[in-house]
Symmetry: C2
Amino acid sequence: MIDPAESFQGKNTLITGGLGFIGSNLAHRLLALGAKVKVVDAALQGTGANEFNLRDIRSAVEIQNADLRDPGVALAMIEGQDYLFNLAGLVSHVDSMESPQIDLEVNAACQLSIVQACLKHNPGIKIVYAGTRQIYGRSQYLPVDEKHPIVPVDFNGVTKRAGEMYHLVSYRAYGLHTTSLRMINTYGPRMHCRDGRLNFLGEWIRRLFDHQPLQVFGTGEQIRDLNFVDDVADALLLAASDEKSAGQIYNLGSPEPIRLLDLAQLMIEVFDSGSYELCPFPAERKRIDIGDYHGDYSKIQSQLGWQPKVSLREGLARTFEYYRQHREHYW
Amino acid sequence: MIDPAESFQGKNTLITGGLGFIGSNLAHRLLALGAKVKVVDAALQGTGANEFNLRDIRSAVEIQNADLRDPGVALAMIEGQDYLFNLAGLVSHVDSMESPQIDLEVNAACQLSIVQACLKHNPGIKIVYAGTRQIYGRSQYLPVDEKHPIVPVDFNGVTKRAGEMYHLVSYRAYGLHTTSLRMINTYGPRMHCRDGRLNFLGEWIRRLFDHQPLQVFGTGEQIRDLNFVDDVADALLLAASDEKSAGQIYNLGSPEPIRLLDLAQLMIEVFDSGSYELCPFPAERKRIDIGDYHGDYSKIQSQLGWQPKVSLREGLARTFEYYRQHREHYW
């Protein structure tokens, strides 16, 4: 197994979407590993971009507020970089149904600009793309492996898949070193909590702190799996530093799939107060709901040696601890 | 089996890309079936749009020269239509690698505009989308059925798949009546022959007439399947008129898969003169070549009763006959 500590010392690393939840946690990790870290973020509305996410490392990180829809931006930022963690994107399924054009611009047109800039000006760069399990749609079997058909239920699934394919075609046609990690629900410090448009977990965290009941849609029997953000950062680092990952797609996953009802109860137990209520599915969510999901992550486990280290109980405790200190910046 | 003759009498039908090869042949058929036919085409460079294709029915068809990248255009043209044959698109694999941004605009952004216009202003319309077997990439088994993994080898495969998914998500989320036909190499009267960027067959036809050898890339052992354009028009009409096709994807295919070498020999035989030569693969084609392809069309055969009626030998003869009369408009 590769030791990422050796891969990133003194290296130039670029994070798109680096003001967001996963990107900012990764920036902290890369800095600790001795990397030079540059962050590009357009801070678009409807993303988790939050300047507070980098406030403690602001002087050590180069932060560029720029919109990758401008073709010149991709070109300028790619130059001289050893690694690109390509996390910029719109992830709201509900928003994509209401505003699909911007979803397409950001998740496909921008990704194409980025990939083209790399092909032309930095073909030796190593790229990890933030894919998503959302593109599988309603699971035809569980756990879902990488061979599962791609049948997205929403427009965001269309564009995230297009962005992923731009990377993989560039590998197959030109040998560009790209890897896609298909992420599951990620949670932890620095996540967006203002509403549930990006991730229902953020809203649940806010509701716990605000003494409001957690809203569980439908029967609450739906199965989901969750990753603590540090485990996702591990996966990003491993994928970037291991040659075996070139051109590969890897599912992330968790050994603790859980029904939403049980997750609500666990969160209340770990938080030590709170309540939940079953609510009818809002129509705009029901029509794009994926039902049960549980990812098979044996491929990344066997090829790159990745597995989640943080249990759900521990991860939730660490998450609550963060928001006890900093929630005024996330509400 | 549905009789399309009854479905289209007096109906309002719209063909995007209607100046092109397949669209113009379909326009002729629809008119003969008693439909009112409207054609929208931007006549973009790098497409098969050719005004001569509709010259004999020009007075009976409403032709609008408009670019669907303008959001107002999609809205205006959709109103009052019963059927939409959505054939507009860029299909050149080689061009998509050189100019991927316009490929994305036309094949994904335009398609999204069209689908949104239908959802908002004409949700009862029936749509058939021109999909392509190109999205499968290199075949993992033969014949390729609809369950084959989608692993495109070029940027055009990315965008054609995105356009298809926009249609299918709109069916699943909102019930929009959409069907995708994944087409194979189509040939016949009215096809683009100026060069081989859209379809190698057009160039081969031109070379036969111009006494130039057919250029067969590589070993010539690659298997392809071909449909005569009238058979493709049949499939479009069946898919539009049969309720069973809502939300479905169908492969087209042929009972006569053939090696390119044998195809070249057959063309020379039917044309009654000519020669071919084996050429090394140009690099820009080799890197995106799909190897052997042969499609399994049993799904559309059993569900909609479609099968090709025109043999390769007969289709080639009819094609040559057309260009004997009209080739000055296609060279």
